[in-house]
């Protein structure tokens, strides 16, 4: 039979000054753990939401990102006729895109950040249907105009609606702000591909990628077969959402590994905090433990009782840590996208499963910190423990 749990509740309450050390240690560790994972998750969610399952993204074979890719105008013309690509009244829904980088100062710090410039075709909003102009209008083909993502609009100086911004050797006017649903496009600046390349003296017959709208999500294989088997082309075709998911891998892995290492180091400290709290609990309650053993409670009941107490303390710590970082949910921050070397705004994404993970992590620390003191409490000879009082 187990020692009643009320004993543990009241013992923790009675010795809260000692328990608070372990609670705060575990809370801090869980807070960092959840925050780092939510950062990685937010980064991934931002990139993944950039893609659509209705679109395919085409880059040069072997290119790991748009920045290392190159597609010629001749190749684009071949692609436009491939089966599986949707068509509108004025032609195929294909956007050959030029991707460039421009240093623009951040509003928050005044320091330059690399902003991704994307030269797109005028029909891009028909291809990326999730993107909407929320202020102003779309740029007009042939005019030195830009539209900016909503994060770019608020994060960088000079990208307010109506401003004129020097890009390369041309000046572009901000005519619109678009909402890309929190995706990576929200951190970008879009312009007519022809004018943008010209401003940076890039060849007019060369693009970084081509985004095409599929007739249906199932048409991807058809497009892929047609393009990869054509001897005039040397390209990789992937579903847009898969491309962006893959793009997020390096950064999310980096954040997760670094966050994991920080959390692991903190966890060692927290476990020692829990060990200290529980050893002091065992030392202070030697008489109580010996009395219960004398009354007939077994060694296992004592171990379980102290483990329950450690779990109780760690649960409070875990819940406190989760509660402390919860306000970060949705908080937008920025980081370098290591695939494109551009600055990307994204939000912390704290989900119920992350919180559950934080609590489980806390309980793990509690058990790790409570097990040895619990065994020590149970293993102490009863007669000796009673004599030493």
């Amino acid at each position: 039979m187990a020692i009643p749990v009320v004993y543990n509740f009241r013992s923790v309450k009675a010795r809260w000054t000692s328990a608070i050390v372990a609670v705060l240690g575990i809370a801090g560790t869980v807070g960092v753990f959840v925050a780092m994972l939510s950062l990685a998750r937010g980064f991934r969610a931002t990139l993944v939401s950039s893609g659509s399952k209705d679109n395919a993204l085409i880059v040069r074979a072997g290119a790991t990102s748009e920045m290392t890719s190159g597609v010629s105008l001749d190749e684009v013309k071949v692609m436009q006729d491939a089966p599986g690509i949707a068509r509108a009244a004025d032609g195929p829904l294909v956007s050959p895109e030029a991707v460039l980088m421009a240093p623009i100062p951040l509003r928050s710090t005044g320091t330059d950040a690399n902003v991704q410039l994307r030269g797109v075709s005028p029909n891009v909003l028909e291809i990326r249907k999730q993107i909407k102009i929320v202020q102003g209008r779309m740029f007009k083909p042939g005019l030195a105009e830009i539209v900016v993502g909503k994060n770019a609009n608020v994060s960088y100086s000079g990208l307010a609606l109506g401003n004129t911004m020097g890009l390369g050797n041309n000046r572009f006017q901000v005519v619109g702000v678009f909402d890309a649903g929190g995706s990576a496009f929200d951190s970008e600046v879009w312009a007519d591909a022809h004018l943008l390349r010209s401003a940076y003296n890039r060849p007019d017959t060369f693009f970084q990628s081509v985004t095409v709208h599929l007739t249906s999500p199932d048409a991807l294989q058809q497009v892929k077969d047609a393009l990869t088997s054509d001897p005039r082309l040397n390209v990789d075709v992937s579903r847009e959402v898969d491309y962006y998911a893959k793009q997020s891998t390096r950064m999310t892995t980096l954040i997760t590994v670094l966050g994991g290492m920080v959390a692991a180091v903190m966890a060692i400290g927290a476990v020692f905090g829990a060990l200290n709290t529980m050893y002091s609990a065992v030392a202070e309650r030697g008489r109580e433990i010996a009395t219960m053993r004398a009354l007939g409670f077994g060694a296992l009941a004592v171990v379980l009782s102290f483990l329950i107490e450690a779990v109780l303390i760690s649960f409070v710590g875990g819940a406190l840590g989760c509660a402390a970082v919860l306000p970060l949910n949705g908080f937008t921050t920025g980081a370098m996208n290591w695939q494109t070397f551009s600055h990307l705004a994204f939000a912390f994404k704290i989900t119920p499963d992350l919180l559950l993970g934080g609590i489980i992590f806390a309980l793990g620390m509690g058990i790790a910190g409570g097990l040895l003191p619990a065994i020590h409490a149970a293993a102490r000879p009863v007669a000796a423990a009673l004599r030493s009082l």
């Binding site: 039979m1 009643p4 004993y7 009675a14 109580e288 007939g296 007669a383 009673l386 009082l389």
Partner: protein
């Protein structure tokens, strides 16, 4: 009837034969008990007296299954406890022994009711049955109106009463009292001893008690003296000497 000379067959409730206990301190062996024989019948009230270090508490610990002897045997109601495993001994204690300690040893974060209920949590009694037993035990010790008080809210005498209620609540085979009045004033000590005597006289409990206090010892039916691990009388070894007593 209490006997210290018997080393053969007996029908006594508690039979101790050739009991030895040796401790090692550094490289030195300290013999605390030396070849003790003792028979205690059901309903006996035995007091052990003797100077510090004479082995009184060690004997009580051995009788209560809290420690194991170096040699010899202890049988209680036919159960030989000296060769039981630690787990079996723990179960045996829960069924057969009620402990009363000098410092009461109540759990400070539990109420009087919860302290008394502790031994019953090791039985198969239902919640209702447990409540009846706890209330009866607290009634016997005169603390029916203190059930929800925490130990810090009780006087020393009341704490010891709660400890006695905890010791008797599961109706154990015998009670072991280690200096039950050692931390009390004379008045409280008298009240506690009146209660213990009542448990023997009215409720037929078997009580083995260690005390330094000769006044307290007079309450017992039999007083045995321990000196250097040997039962003695007036400075003489009491081995092979029968002592009277009994209910």
């Amino acid at each position: 009837m209490v006997s210290v000379n018997n080393n053969g067959h007996s029908t006594a409730l508690i039979q101790v034969r050739g009991l030895n206990k040796t401790y090692r301190r550094g490289g030195e062996e300290i013999q605390v008990l030396q070849g003790l024989n003792l028979d205690v019948d059901k309903g006996d009230f035995v007091a052990f007296m003797g100077p510090s270090g004479s082995g009184k508490t060690t004997l009580l610990n051995l009788l209560g299954g809290l420690d194991v002897p170096t040699a010899g045997t202890i049988s209680v109601a036919g159960d030989e406890i000296t060769h039981m495993s630690s787990g079996k001994l723990t179960e045996w204690r829960a069924r057969h022994v009620g402990f009363v300690f000098q410092m009461y040893n109540l759990i400070p974060v539990l109420t009087a009711y919860q302290n008394v209920e502790l031994p019953l949590l090791l039985t198969r009694l239902s919640g209702t049955e447990r409540r009846q037993h706890v209330e009866a035990a607290l009634s016997i010790v005169g603390l029916a109106d203190r059930t929800h008080h925490f130990p810090r809210q009780l006087s020393g005498g009341q704490e010891q009463r709660v400890a006695i209620a905890r010791a008797i609540v599961s109706d154990p085979t015998f009670l072991l009292c280690d200096e039950p009045t050692g931390d009390l004033d004379r008045k409280s000590a008298d009240e506690i001893m009146a209660l213990v005597t009542e448990l023997v006289d009215k409720h037929a409990k078997t009580v083995l008690m260690v005390t330094h206090d000769p006044v307290v010892a007079t309450r017992a039916q039999t007083v045995l003296h321990l000196e250097k691990g040997v039962l003695v009388e007036a400075g003489k070894p009491r081995q092979d000497v029968a002592v009277g007593g009994g209910a």
